[in-house]
Amino acid sequence: MSFNDPHGYKKNLSSPYTGVKGWIDSRLPLIRMMEAEYLKFPVPKSLNYFWSFGGIAMFCLIGLILSGIFLGMHYKPSAAEAFNSVERIMRDVQFGWLVRYLHMNLASFFFIATYIHIFRALYFGSYKAPRELVFIFGMLMFLLMMGTAFLGYTLPWGQMSYWGATVITNLFSAIPVVGDSILLTLLGDFTVSDATVNRFYVLHWLLAFAIVGLVVFHVITLHMTGSNNPTGMEPQNWDETLSFHPYMTIKDTKAMVLFFILVAFILFYYPNIMGHSDNYIRANALVTPAHIVPEWYFLPFYAILRAIPDKLGGVLAMFGSIAVLFILPWLDTSKVRSCLYRPIWRICVLLFALNFFVLMYMGAKPASDIYVLISRIGTAYWFLFFLVLAPLVGYLETPRQPVTISNYIRDKKA
């Protein structure tokens, strides 16, 4: 231990490499770190393709940032020019249509990958100790993703952009005392306006890079504990692990290529299928669309918002529905992680996934009797799942004894 290293974590300054590589590495131990974390890093042998979606989501993020940079070179963040500048990108900029459609559709695919990734965490108990922080950083990213997506959807300045922004920002006025000040600060005006699109553009960039920052924390915490796996058991020895490279790199690449075939199919042949046709009408403060609906990935939360008859209550329920995810690691009382060995919790999780789709469907429907009723049942189950079932099932259920990774693989081969 030396004077500038009270905890001793810099003690091994002598690099394993020689030459230029060694010179750099002994001063900036990045090469060593990359080798340890991405080449030799041991991962459980038993990972299935659900584990590819984190990497896929990261590639979506990279694609969004790259395409976003090029869009930003041509986009004009003002109420007067935004709509036409997007159309100018589509029509007059070299491959502008490709960059714009890519940005638009990758946002949707980022959510698809992230939702599958979160489902994987729920199903196989990846949120449980010692991976609570991995999960919490993930949830923070999810929250920022929703913010970024919402801000970004305002920028093309179509009818849904404008009215979606009006409806969602108005939610803040439900907050007692400070609500109106928050709303005014957010909009920079009394309605969604020129000032709004300008600041939303800045915040859209800011949050996008904040997500990148959180990815770093997500990955650091993940690499401290190592990956979970379908059994939810930690590897017992080296034989139960594989090095990240080449085993995981090739497996994830294969999954990623398959995923991006799907992306390409939608991007090139149905680029507007996940959008709303009203957004090709320029924003007009005097004409309200017949149905104001958010983007598809917000629909479950929109359904929860509308399920509560009170405005403040609705807002609290909507934010609460995400807040409960943050404390899930402590709400779930079970000793066993994976749903493979938890017969009752498994049903609860699958119902949760089904309920997610039901709420998504309800969010797209008008707020009339039957749809509101179903939304309420769905909302009730959402909170029941986290606040009651997670602690209770953990106590009452008798899980089966999880098998070791080696036995799991042997059983699967048999």
Binding site: R91, I266, F268, M274
Partner: protein, 251 residues
């Protein structure tokens, strides 16, 4: 199972789904030359459609996201485009003396608006604003099918339905009332020999033109799509084989 659900979700467009279940108006499906993996715009239909737009629609409807030079895509020659552009006057200036002046439009100009401003447009149309048509095909849930159906949807109102003064009955308009009088009838445009200007033909042609106007890069998009997907498929086969090889010895 999960995979199936996810795929099903992907291919549902929640929004059109919503509209389809509420509005009971069935929009017919037509054949369009630009559908499918290798679809392209029918150039002669689009050229005729431009004629329809110029002689009928452009009296009230602007198309200000298009420039005259874009018409080259449809097969018009540079000289033809110069003549087309020059048939409209555009305000320019100020000149060196500080005066605004009118001049013939150039191929680089956007399509000249029929009205000087939105209020003038409303004043001439009973208070209704004729939409800009540049993106109209993308701005309606059923796109081209809806536009063609609407253009052909002027029928006698059913018994008992009264249409207020200044409005017209249309079978495909939401609420069945539309402020635009029937723009096209059989033979309302003179076509060159060989094409019969029936209502159906006129509607098909002008819709083709508007579909092109909304997405002039559609053909590039589809052509590139085939290449990208083929590339990814080959890449997938390679990664599949590599994965099998690398994992062969994993017990």
């Amino acid at each position: 199972m999960i995979k199936k659900i996810l795929l099903a979700i992907l291919f549902i467009n929640f929004y059109t789904f919503t509209f389809a279940s509420e509005a009971k108006i069935e929009i017919p499906k037509y054949d369009w030359s630009w559908k499918g993996f290798f679809g392209t715009y029918d150039r002669s239909a689009a050229q005729r459609g431009f004629k329809v737009y110029k002689e009928v629609c452009s009296g009230c409807h602007s198309m200000n996201l298009l420039s005259y030079r874009n018409l080259e895509d449809l097969g018009f020659s540079e000289d033809q485009i110069k003549v087309i552009a020059a048939s409209s006057l555009i305000e320019d200036g100020p000149n060196a003396e500080g005066e605004m002046y009118e001049r013939d439009a150039l191929p680089s100009d956007r399509f000249v608006d029929p009205y000087p401003n939105a209020n003038a447009a409303r004043a001439s149309n009973n208070g209704a604003y004729p939409s800009d048509l540049s993106l109209i095909v993308k701005a309606r849930p059923k796109g081209a099918d809806y536009i063609k159906a609407l253009l052909m949807g002027y029928v006698e109102p059913p018994q008992g339905v009264t249409v207020p003064e200044g409005m017209y009955y249309n079978a495909y308009m939401e609420g069945h009332q539309i402020a635009m009088p029937a723009p096209l009838i059989d033979g309302s445009i003179d076509y060159d020999e060989g094409t019969e200007p029936t209502l159906d033909q006129l509607a098909t042609d002008v819709t083709t033109f508007m579909a092109w106007a909304a997405e002039p890069y559609l053909e590039d998009r589809k052509r590139l799509g085939v290449k990208v997907i083929l590339f990814l498929l080959v890449l997938f086969v390679l990664t599949y084989i590599s994965k099998e090889r690398i994992w062969r010895d994993v017990k």
